[in-house]
Amino acid sequence: MRQQHDVAQLGMWVFLATEVLFFGGLILSYCVYRSAYPAAFAEAARHTKIIIGAANTAVLLTSSFLVAWAVAIVKLRQSRFAAVLLWGAGVLGVIFLVLKGIEYGMEYDEHLLPGLDFFYPGEQARAVGLFFSFYIVATGLHAIHVAVGIVVLGVIGARARQRAYSDAYHSPVTVAGLYWHFVDMVWIFLFALIYLPGRSG
C-alpha cells in the first residue's frame, strides 16, 4: 500500500510537469507579445475586471487551504469532516467559475472577446486584441482545469464520507490535492499576468 501511494503521487508530479510545460508554452507566447507591445498590453490590462479577479484569487486560495486541511486530517479518521472540507473546496471552485462567467459576460458586452465579438477603438486595437486572445485562451483552459477539479473533489468527498480513506490508504486525496493546488498556482500566475500590468502608479 505504501508503494501504491508512492506510485500515485509520483504519477501526479510527472503529470503536473506536463501541465507546467502546457501552460508554459502559452505564457511564453504572452511574454513575447508583451515585450513587443508593452504599452498596449498595459492599456488592455486596465480593461480587465480586477475586483472580480482579486475576489477569485481569494476564492481559489481559500479552497486550496480547505483541500490542504482535508489532506492533513484524512489520515486521522476524521473522514466526515474531510468530506465537508473537500466539498467546501468544490463549492468555492463553482463560485470561481460563476464569477468568471460574469466577468466574461461583462467583457462580451464591452466587445473585448476576440473570436466572438471584438471591437476596440484606438491605435492599439491590434495588440489589445492579442492581449484578450491570450486572456480568453488562458483563462478558458484554466476554467476547464477548475471544472475537472470540481468533479474530482466531489467524487473524492463522497468517497471520504463513506469512510473509504484511512491512514493506510488515502492517496486519492493527496493526489487530487496536488492537482488542485496546481490549478490554484496557475491562477496566481495568470492573475499577475492579466490583471496587474499597467495598474501601478
Binding site: G11, F15, L26, P114, G129, L130, S133, F134
Partner: protein, 536 residues
Amino acid sequence: MSAPRNYLTEDNRLRSWFFTTDHKRVAVLYFASITLFFFIGGAAATLIRLELINPQGHLVTSDVYNRLFTLHGVIMVWFFLIPSIPNTIGNFIVPLMIGARDLAFPRLNLASWYLFMAGGLTTLYAMFAGGVDTGWTFYTPFSTMYSNGYVVLAVTGVFIAGFSSILTGLNFIVTIHRLRVPGLTWYRLPLFLWSLYATSVILVLATPVLAMTLLLVALDRAFGIGIFDPARGGDPLLFQHLFWFYSHPAVYIMILPGMGVVSELIAVYSRKEVFGYKFVAWSAIAIAGVGFFVWGHHMFVSGQSPFAGLVFSFMSFIVAVPSAIKVFNWTATMHKGWIRYDAPMLYALGFIGLFTMGGLTGLFLACLAYDVYVTDTYFVVAHFHYIMVGGMVTAYFGGLHYWWPKITGRLYPEYWARAAAILIFFGFNMTFFPQFILGIEGMPRRYHVYPPEFQVWHVLSSAGASILAVAYALPLFYLGWSLFFGARAGANPWQATGLEWQTTSPPPKHNFEGTPIVKRKPYDFTVKGKARAQNA
C-alpha cells in the same frame, strides 16, 4: 498436452482484448494499429515516388501531391514513428525487463491506446475527407489563413494522440522509478530502459508544448484569434519556435528508443558486455537534455537573430558528442566479441551504418553556412530519412525480430528474416542516397514538377523505393506465417541475460512466477553469469 496458459490464451473473447489492462495485450493492440498506419503512410510514399519518376508530374495534380506528402508526414511521424518502439516493444518489454507484473498504471495504459486510436482515426478522416496541404509542419500563416483543407480536424487528431504520448511517457517514468525488482539498481538496468526513460522525459516535457501550439493554430483558424496572424499583430515565427521546441526533441523521441534496442542487440549477438555501459546510459540522458536547446537550427533562414543562429548551431554540434559515444561504444562492444549474424544483428549493424550517415549529414546541417545552402532541399529530406527510416525503422524491425519469440512464443524463419534485413539496407540506400545528390544539386523538397536534369536521380530513388516497399512487406508475410507455423521458441532462444528471458515464451498473464531477484550487471555473458541466470 496443451501448452501452459499464457497471456495470449488466457481469455480469447474479443472484449477481453479491448478491455484488457495487461501491458502485453495493449502492446499487441499497438502493434496492430501502428502496422496499419505504417502501410497507409507507406502507400502515400509510394505514390509520391511514382509521381516523381516523371519531371512533369503527370500522375497527380499539384494539389493532390501536396496532400499526399502531408498525409505521409503526419501519419508517419505521429502515428508510426513516435509510438513505434515505446508503445509496442516498450509496452511489452518494460515490465518484463524490470521484473514487474505490469506497468505502474495499467488502466491508463489502455486509455492511452484508445486516445491514440481516436487521434489516429480523426486524422485519417481529415486526410481522406479532403486532406491537408500544409505539410506535416502546419506552418503559419498558411495553415491558419490560406490553406484549403481540413487543418483543424487534422490538428485535433494530433492533439488527441499527444495525450496518448504523454500518458505513455508518464507510465514509463513511474514504472522505471518505482517497480524495479529487488537488486535491480539503476546501473543494472538494461540500456533499453535508459533510452526509454530519456524518451519518456521528452514525451512528458515536449508534447504539451505541441498540444498548446496546435490548440492555438486551431483557435486561430476557427475563430481568428490572430495569435499567429501578422495582420493582427501576431507573429508567424512564434509558431515555428513553439513547433520546433516540440518537434526537434520529437526527433529524439523517435531515435532514442531505437538506440536502446540496438544496445541490447549488439550486446546479445556479440556476447559481450556493452563497452562503457555508463557512458551509453548517460549519453541517452544527454541527448534528451541537449535536444531541448537545438530547435532553432530548423529556422536558420527564417530571419531569426544571427546570434541565436550561432548558439543553436553550436548546441546542434554538441548533440553529436553523445551520439558518437553511442556509435563508438557499440563498435567497441563488437570488438573481439563472439558475433552471430542473426537477423536482429543484421538490423542492428544496418542501424549503425545508416544512423552514422544520417548523423554526419546532420553535422552539415548544423553548420550555419552550409545549412543556408541546402535548406529545404532534398539534402534535408535524405538526412532525416536516414535517421528516421534508416535508423528508427531499422531498429524497430531489429527489436521486433529479437523479441518476436518472447511475444508470440514462435521463432521467425531466419532465412527470410535475413533476406529482408539485407534487402531493406540496400533498398533504403538506393532510395535515399540519390536524394543527397539531388539536394546538393539544388532540388527543393515538396516540388512535384522539376527540371529534367534531376530525373535520373529521381528514377534511381523511385527504383530503390520499390525494392524498399517489397522488403518492408516481406516481414508481414513471414512473421504472419510464423505466428501459426513457426517453430516453438523456448524461454530464451538467444541465451540472452535480460529478465524478460527468464519467464516462459509467451509470458504468463502476470509475467513471472514469484519475484525475480537481480544480483548482477545486465550484460553478464560469463559462464558464471549464465549459470546464475538459469537459477534465478
